[in-house]
């Protein structure tokens, strides 16, 4: 891979080479484990809540936060970014490669977790198939938006991890409940809105059009802002 796509390979290796990947794998396994436990205990009715609360609201943003901020932020922090910047070619390609890895890894963990969760209860609750597919597709779109948003955040601040965590827990977790108006600026609400739309249900989340718009704006906006940041990135430090 180093031969063909060095930035993708380096980013992938840096994210897979650390203990955090195993932690993320463990995190992705939580909804599966809980559903499995429910199945063993004979309760298959709570899958929707697992999808909603656990997969979309917790596991997805946390995994995307770790991979999104780690894909670029670590190199900006330790200075190894210079080996990518001091090369010919547009820096947009660096951001694109890193975004693909961050989103890809997030999806690689959350998508199987979502599908497995549905599969575990599918035999006893066949009506879970449609929600499973809907949540899986929404997780792909939402995971991409989260990962790219956090990646771009790491190009702006070295505190991306804590700011991102604050966004997920406070803005999306608390404020969206208190002030419904803020839901429009929530990747979580857009992801849930998309999942609802794909199932053909009318939930309390954003409507289909708004959901898709929010996700597309976040994804494209993140790419554009991240590329702009990196094209003007200046190396600090030294004397």
């Amino acid at each position: 891979m180093i031969h063909r796509m060095p930035v993708v390979a380096i980013t992938l290796r840096s994210l897979l080479d650390r203990r955090r990947f195993w932690l993320m794998l463990l995190l992705a396994a939580v909804p599966v484990a809980i559903t499995l436990l429910g199945r063993v205990l004979g309760d298959v009715t709570f899958s929707q809540i697992v999808f909603d609360r656990l997969v979309i609201q917790t596991v997805l943003p946390l995994i995307a936060l770790v991979f999104g901020t780690g894909a670029l932020g670590a190199e900006l922090e330790d200075g190894t970014i210079v080996y990518l910047l001091a090369k010919p070619g547009r820096r947009f390609r660096i951001v694109l490669a890193k975004a693909a890895v961050a989103a890809g890894l997030t999806i690689a963990l959350v998508l199987p977790a979502t599908l497995l969760t549905g599969l575990i209860v599918a035999t006893d609750a066949p009506d879970i198939v449609v929600p499973t597919v809907a949540y899986a597709l929404a997780a792909v779109a939402g995971g991409t938006a989260y990962a790219l948003g956090f990646l771009t955040l790491s190009s702006i601040t070295s505190r991306a991890l804590s700011i991102g965590l604050g966004y997920v827990l406070l803005w999306e977790g608390v404020l969206a409940g208190l002030l419904p108006g803020t839901q429009t600026f929530s990747i979580r609400q857009a992801t849930l809105g998309l999942a609802d739309a794909l199932q053909g249900v009318d939930g309390e989340t954003l409507d289909a059009g708004t959901s898709v718009t929010v996700l597309v704006v976040v994804i494209l906006g993140s790419l554009a802002l991240g590329s702009w940041r990196m094209s003007r990135y200046q190396l600090r430090g030294g004397d």
Binding site: G79, Y83, K87, G89, L235
Partner: protein, 311 residues
């Protein structure tokens, strides 16, 4: 190399460049140009060397003035990197890659037709073949410097910029690096390296840029700058098995113009550092005196540069 109007033909030209961070001026109206050969950017820590090199390497925008490399503006022109190899000061290299993978990744990013062959060539050049398949995380400081060097050389750039390249290298590795850079210079490449160690630059560079407190303190061929530096008085502290006798022997030398004896040893003042260091071992040998300590008391680069700026 000149400090006057930078010529268009120069590989690196720096024109009235300043860089400030808020109220702090890191580099202050510096102009020079650098052509083929090895040029040393000499200055104490905090003088502005890295800031200057980052601007030359296109990684930092000048607050004022312009930097051009091979005729292209350094800032925001990534095509410049086809002609430039950069060895940054920071030691960190992707610890999870092997040396070979790191070199290949760099070759690939340069868009070379055969990245594998280019990487092999560069690895051989820095003599790291035996360790090329080890992870960089297991490398010593010196080996890391060499793999950084290989990465900078994969595309055989005409301009090579090195920030403190000898940091962490043992004497043998230094010697090897000296030879390597000298070879680069003989091939007509432009090598600009920074160092805060006078002796390193002396061994390497034909021309020198002395930077102190963000200003260009001196520029020219090394001999003339060295003369300026050595002509100033040097003060040494010497301890031996027989300080009194050593003092009388030293006073016979033309190059020594003062010796003070106290309970801690001798304070020797010389106008010619080279001569003193040549004579001292001979005197010790002839008289059977053992030298216990020879320590410059005022040879910090800060004092040398302060002298240059103030002269």
């Amino acid at each position: 190399m000149t400090t006057e109007a930078p010529s268009q033909a120069a590989a690196i030209s720096v024109e009235h460049v300043s860089r400030w961070y808020g109220n702090v001026v890191a580099v202050n109206d510096v102009s020079f140009s650098v052509g083929p050969g090895v040029t040393g950017l000499l200055g104490p820590n905090g003088a502005g060397k890295t800031t200057l090199l980052h601007m030359i390497a296109g990684l930092l925008a000048p607050s004022a003035g312009e930097v051009r490399v091979e005729g292209r503006p350094a800032w925001r022109d990534s095509e410049m990197y086809r002609h430039v190899g950069l060895v940054p000061e920071r030691e960190t290299v992707y610890p999870f890659l092997t040396g070979r993978e790191f070199a290949i990744a760099n070759a690939r990013q340069q868009g070379l037709a055969d990245p594998g062959a280019a990487a092999e060539r560069a690895i051989a050049l820095v003599e790291l073949g035996d360790a090329a398949d080890r992870r960089v995380g297991t490398y010593s400081k010196g080996m890391r410097q060499r793999i950084k060097m290989a990465a900078a050389l994969v595309h055989e750039p005409p301009v090579l910029i090195l920030d403190e390249p000898f940091n962490g290298m043992d004497p043998r590795q230094r010697l090897h690096m000296f030879e390597l850079l000298r070879r680069m210079a003989e091939q007509g490449r432009t090598v600009l390296l920074s160092s805060h160690i006078l002796e390193e630059v002396e061994r390497m560079a034909e021309s020198v840029l002395v930077i102190y407190a963000g200003r260009l303190a001196a520029a020219g061929d090394f001999r003339s700058i060295r003369r300026l530096m050595t002509d100033r008085p040097h003060v040494f502290h010497v301890r031996s098995t027989d300080d009194r006798r050593l003092a009388s022997e030293l006073l016979r030398l033309d190059c020594v113009f003062g010796v003070e004896l106290d309970a801690k040893g001798l304070t020797v003042r010389t106008a010619d550092l080279g001569q003193l260091t040549r004579h001292l071992p001979r005197i010790a040998k002839d008289t059977g005196i053992s030298l216990r300590e020879l320590r410059p008391t005022d040879d910090s680069l800060e004092s040398v540069f302060a002298y240059l700026v103030g002269r």
